[in-house]
């Protein structure tokens, strides 16, 4: 595979590509779906192929192939170049700017290798989880493991080899008391060996959540529409930070490159240095967090990964860039290029996006609320295509009165604009938690693993329905 990658790079160089890079990937994965205690299916596959990206006089071409016959590859490269040259007259003058040359070989450490895990071991875990949730009428569980081996090489001389194992999955269940029903869905995931699965504490989590939903079904009340304090659990902070504290900072949205697909952003360069949130809020995107679901040390343009401060003390501080957007906006690249598969172009993507913890104990955040709602986790959410207004609907939630949790609340709705959300935050917890996401962007759609994280936070006097 590496030799074929070098062959393609040389073909592109021979054809006078201004910039070119080749990414070869092999992903070995196993996955399982359990529906209402029944194993529906197991999948075991190896996805292998090579993608290359290049410019000719500023016209950007991408090609992908999983047939490694050199004659076929040569034909493909020639066809691709013909199309790229044809597109030149209407093309953006795409540039990749200067970049460091990196030659690296790194692997995520695994104490217990996922490739050694027997299917029966995965099934046992799923069956145990299913058993814990057996009072739920509808249940779907999934679990997958993947081992991604990547080889990246570009015209500048960078060569990166990476091996990243990941474990991920999802559970979704519905509880029904005859009159009404409530649902819960959660995605988990991390990079690392089999041992990381223990860290999710799924048995305990599912048991607690089933009991909480039963309690809500039996005792839950609907809130009136009014202003009150809102406490968000880590999981809700995480999704909010991802949607309105991460996506708007993606530079390809800002310059309009994803306009017809994942949308644009209300942010632009004029916002840099401006106060958008409370001074307590700092949001980072950090691919280097150990075991993060969105972990990598070098991005899909061979650029060294690092922590990016998107919002610092409430001030818009930086955007997420790849080489193309940094060049287009005259800013510094910060290594945020990712592709979901060998046959997809690397776009500007988040990795592990989190709100940094503050100095509050969780009990103190709630204790200082006269009347409010605590939304521990959520089901429904969405945000508009400029990331201006968003909605989160609680799954497990409670009414707070005089600093005490008094009773469960059914599906409280927080529908709010982005500045109002970040300005209302007055307390941030010490403890951070992560959930996983499969973030969608691009066309064809690229679902990419990310961590969404944050601590418990408190918003003062926002509208709740």
């Amino acid at each position: 595979m590496e030799e074929v990658a070098e062959y393609i790079l040389n073909l592109l160089k021979e054809n006078k590509a201004g910039y070119c890079e080749v990414r070869a990937e092999k992903v070995k994965s196993n996955s399982f779906i359990l529906k209402n205690s029944n194993l529906e299916l197991g999948e075991s596959s190896i996805n292998i192929g090579i993608g290359a990206r290049y410019t000719i006089n500023g016209s950007l071409g991408f090609l992908a192939v999983n047939d490694f016959d050199k004659t076929r590859i040569k034909e493909l490269v020639e066809k691709s170049i013909r199309l790229t040259k044809k597109c030149q007259k209407k093309s953006e003058n795409t540039g990749f700017g200067e970049s460091d040359i990196n030659i690296q070989d790194y692997k995520v450490k695994q104490d217990k290798k996922i490739e050694d895990i027997e299917p029966s071991e995965c099934l046992k875990i799923l069956k145990d989880l299913d058993n814990i949730a057996k009072d739920a009428e509808g249940r779907v569980f999934s679990l997958y493991t993947s081992l991604n081996n990547k080889y990246f090489v570009n015209i500048d001389g960078s060569k990166i080899k990476a091996e990243i194992p990941r474990i991920g999955g999802m559970y979704l269940f519905i509880l029904d008391n005859g009159n009404k029903s409530l649902q819960r869905k959660f995605d988990f995931g991390a990079s690392g060996g089999w041992e990381i699965l223990q860290g999710f504490k799924l048995n305990e989590k599912i048991l607690n959540e089933v009991n909480a939903l039963k309690n809500t079904l039996n005792r839950g009340v609907k809130l009136k529409s009014e202003n009150m304090d809102v406490v968000l659990g880590s999981e809700v902070t995480g999704i909010a930070v991802h949607e309105s504290g991460g996506h708007p900072y993606e530079a390809d949205r800002i310059i309009g490159r994803e306009s017809a697909q994942a949308g644009e952003s209300f942010l632009n360069k004029d916002y840099l240095g401006k106060q958008l949130g409370s001074e307590k809020v700092t949001i980072v995107d950090d691919p280097t967090i150990e075991n993060g679901y969105g972990y990598f040390l070098y991005d899909d343009e061979g650029v060294k990964a690092k922590r990016k401060f998107l919002m610092k003390d409430g001030i818009v501080n930086d955007f997420l860039h790849n080489r193309e957007t940094a060049f287009a906006m005259g800013m510094k690249n910060n290594g945020s290029a990712r592709a979901s598969d060998y046959n997809k172009e690397a776009l500007v993507r988040m990795s592990n996006t989190i709100m940094l913890p503050g100095d509050y104990n969780e009990e103190d955040i709630i204790k200082d609320v006269k009347k409010g709602v605590y939304i521990k986790n959520f089901m429904e959410w969405n945000i508009d295509d400029r990331r201006w207004q968003q909605k989160y609907v609680g799954s497990e939630a409670y009414l707070i009165e005089k600093g005490e949790i008094v009773k469960p609340v059914i599906s409280p709705v927080l529908e709010i604009t982005t500045p109002a959300f970040y300005k209302a935050i007055d307390a941030i917890g010490k403890k951070i938690e992560y959930s996983a996401g499969d973030c969608g962007k691009g066309e064809p759609m690229q679902g990419i693993p990310v961590w969404l994280g944050g601590p418990m936070i408190r918003l003062r006097q926002v509208h709740i329905k």
Binding site: G42, E43, S45, F62, M379, N382, D385, G440
Partner: protein, 434 residues
């Protein structure tokens, strides 16, 4: 086909009870544009073999992407070893059986495929947007491929296809408009029509204003109808119904509104038309809603047998899938959907998410042009709203459907739909207070 037969021979020697083997080969190109410039072109050759096995009711699938004889051999033995270590699917009732003959599809292969100039097509759309709006973004995809299927029940099938997909968003000041189409035969006229429509919406929505939340009669533009019907099609799949995660569960033979909705896997020029499904059942037409009455769910052979229902030929071997959704008026009036006193025209939407799959409570966020309609005329553009409602309510409240029909799939809702504009009464619209 020869390689598939060799693999089949190997599987039989390994005492596999049932198998379905498919080979797919595709050549795809893409031209993506933004800010009225081409920002990327893509070209891909792909081929793969999909293998499904039933080994003593233990089910497994694998995707083979490396075609060395040794790699194929390894993939097969790895899958069998893998499957042996899993558990039985106690609900599985087998793969489709029958002495099938497949009829050719109509207007599903474009002999002029190689002559279709992607760059030229994209340029035409951009020029129209530049003239009637300010700038444009979007995509043009072309696909040409062939596929073969053989199964353990002596089923053999093959087909060739061409496909096209185009989307355009035109932008002017704060306004934007979107349109899209997909097809099997290229029709240049559709590029022009889409670009003009998107540009008109962009022009008309330049200065959007805020409105109050509440109940509105809403005209769903075609892309919004596409989203609604994608959800209905997905919730009609038996996997979701059996999981207890469908708002259509338990509603068989009940009346839900007035429309007629079909899944037509043999639709002429239909983007997803095919001669057979993933287990070889010949494709056909399935009426899901007949004048509002839920007639069936979408089945493969196993789910139909398990539930004593008719196989609708919608395999997906585990999770069923719709082919091409066709909306017909049923008992609704067909005509001018804008003929309303006070309401909204929502041209596009995205980010559709459910609070409860079983009840159908959901929300979706309009994007691009949204308009307030007074006495049948557009009064002004509006912004920052959300449809927060229930799928069954929406279905029950569809009153009128437009005459114009267009085949489309959208970014988040990729089941192709023969879409129309529809008028839905009393739709709940919400928005943030701050």
């Amino acid at each position: 086909m020869k390689t598939l037969k060799e693999i089949a021979g190997k599987l039989e020697k390994l005492n596999v009870d049932e198998y379905a083997l498919s080979y797919n080969e595709e050549e795809a190109s893409q031209v993506k544009f933004a800010n009225s410039k081409i920002v990327k072109n893509g070209y891909e050759l792909s081929k793969d073999i999909g293998l499904f096995v039933n080994y003593k009711k233990r089910l497994g699938v694998t995707l083979i992407k490396s075609f060395d004889e040794k790699d194929i051999e390894n993939s097969i033995s790895a899958l069998i070893n893998f499957v042996k270590k899993t558990e039985q699917n106690k609900e599985f009732k087998g793969l489709s059986e029958g002495d099938f003959r497949y009829k050719e599809l109509e207007n599903c292969y474009d002999k002029k495929f190689d002559d279709i100039d992607e760059e030229d097509a994209v340029e035409e759309g951009i020029n129209i947007a530049n003239e009637y709006a300010e700038k444009a973004a979007g995509i043009f995809d072309k696909y040409k491929g062939k596929s073969y299927l053989i199964t353990s029940h002596n089923i053999e099938g093959e087909e060739e296809y061409t496909k096209y997909y185009y989307s355009i968003k035109s932008i002017k000041n704060e306004g934007s408009g979107y349109d899209t189409f997909c097809s099997r035969i290229f029709n240049r006229k559709l590029i022009k029509e889409s670009a003009l429509k998107a540009s008109k919406i962009a022009n008309d929505s330049q200065k959007p204003a805020e409105i109050e939340e509440g109940k509105y009669d809403v005209v769903f533009g075609m892309p919004v109808t596409n989203i609604l019907l994608n959800e209905i099609a997905n919730h009609a799949c038996m996997f979701n119904v059996e999981s207890g995660l469908s708002f259509l569960a338990g509603k068989l033979n009940q009346k839900i509104g007035k429309i007629t909705l079909k899944d037509d896997a043999r639709l002429e020029n239909g983007f997803n038309s095919c001669k057979f499904d993933d287990e070889g059942t010949p494709s056909g037409i399935t009426i899901i809603l007949d004048n509002g009455i839920l007639k069936t769910y979408l089945h493969n052979y196993s789910s139909a047998k398990r539930n004593n229902m008719q196989n609708t030929g919608n395999a997906g071997l585990i999770i069923q899938r719709a082919s091409n959704i066709v909306l017909e008026k049923g008992e609704c009036e067909e005509g001018d959907v804008n003929d309303i006193e006070n309401g909204l025209y929502i041209t596009n939407s995205w980010y559709t998410r459910f609070q409860n799959y079983r009840t159908g409570d959901f929300s979706t966020i309009p994007r691009d042009g949204i308009f307030l309609i007074k006495k049948g005329k557009i009064e002004k553009a509006v912004k920052n709203i959300r449809i927060t409602d229930n799928m069954l309510n929406l279905l029950n409240n569809i009153e009128k459907i437009g005459k114009e029909i267009k085949q489309m799939k959208t970014w988040e809702a990729d089941i192709p739909v023969m879409s129309r504009e529809i008028l839905i009464r009393n739709v709940n619209i919400t928005k943030p207070k701050i």
